[in-house]
Symmetry: C2
DNA sequence: TCTACCCTCGCAACCCGGTTGCAAGAGGGT
DNA sequence: ACCCTCTTGCAACCGGGTTGCGAGGGTAGA
């Protein structure tokens, strides 16, 4: 909680109650959260407020957005103090059974060399499949 | 054109005029096409018909879908005769300036090894940045 | 040939995540 | 206390995707 406030101040984001709520939810989440996840986790807060908060967080590099192709963008707290570089991008795993997105933080996204003229800004590396839990419980595709 | 019909028959898809139109458009496209692209390319055909055609094509492995995080799914004709395997997946480049998606067919998507228990079915490897053309014409982000 | 059936297609309506305009509310500085 | 700015909630909107339904057209069997 204190941690949240500190983090916001460090990134130059004015501290408000909603921003603490959103950041706290993201920091306590086991994985990533979507706008919808946050909406249902924070029932008292309006969707558009959460949306604008996330928008601000992304701009200020408090969190980063991951598009896992599920139709809803996921958010995750940035680890480093400064901006995320290409090398910071890590691998994500999307479970096609339970529709959760896992951060494989210790697996950094591989970087291929591009043809002449292409300039890379970011990498989206998503592996889709079945997560260990769903396999264990025999949930079929 | 003949090529289209042959390809559909080979994949066990009943040949209809709309299916030929859609597949032909995709085969002649320089890159990938979205549902919207096809809709405007084939003015006479209804959106839902194109949607259902693409749905069928994906199921029958005539085309595959790529989610480049632009908000609209892109489609691309499958190369091989049989189903696409992990190794077949190639890299895509999304230009944040002109919003086009490029297929880097000769760059196959890198495969990382997953933690115990995760089962990979497909890979989405998207690099976002600025394409050569947009850089040349000095279009800034 | 006639009929019954199934697949395909167009239309319209819907769904849902995301986004925006606007007005009220809260907070900080003077 | 006052003003200005930022923040928030509400409601409406947007666009891609999706679905229900009924009409059209082809096909197989009688």
């Amino acid at each position: 909680m204190e941690n949240c406030i500190e983090r916001l101040e460090k990134k130059g984001v004015r501290v408000t109650s909603i921003r603490i709520l959103v950041l706290n939810a993201l920091m306590n989440a086991s994985g990533t959260m979507s706008l919808g996840d946050l909406e249902s986790a924070l029932e008292t807060v309006d969707k558009s407020s959460i949306f604008r908060t996330l928008e601000l967080f992304v701009k200020k590099h408090v969190v980063h957005a991951i598009d896992d192709g599920s139709g809803s963008v996921k958010y995750e707290v940035c680890e480093g103090e400064d901006e995320c570089t290409l090398a910071d991008m890590h691998t994500h795993f999307y479970c096609e059974s339970c529709h959760r997105t896992f951060c494989l933080k210790d697996i950094s996204a591989p970087i291929v060399s591009l043809p002449q003229g292409f300039q890379a800004n970011s990498i989206n590396y998503i592996i889709k499949g079945i997560c260990p839990e769903c396999r264990k419980y025999g949930v079929s595709f």
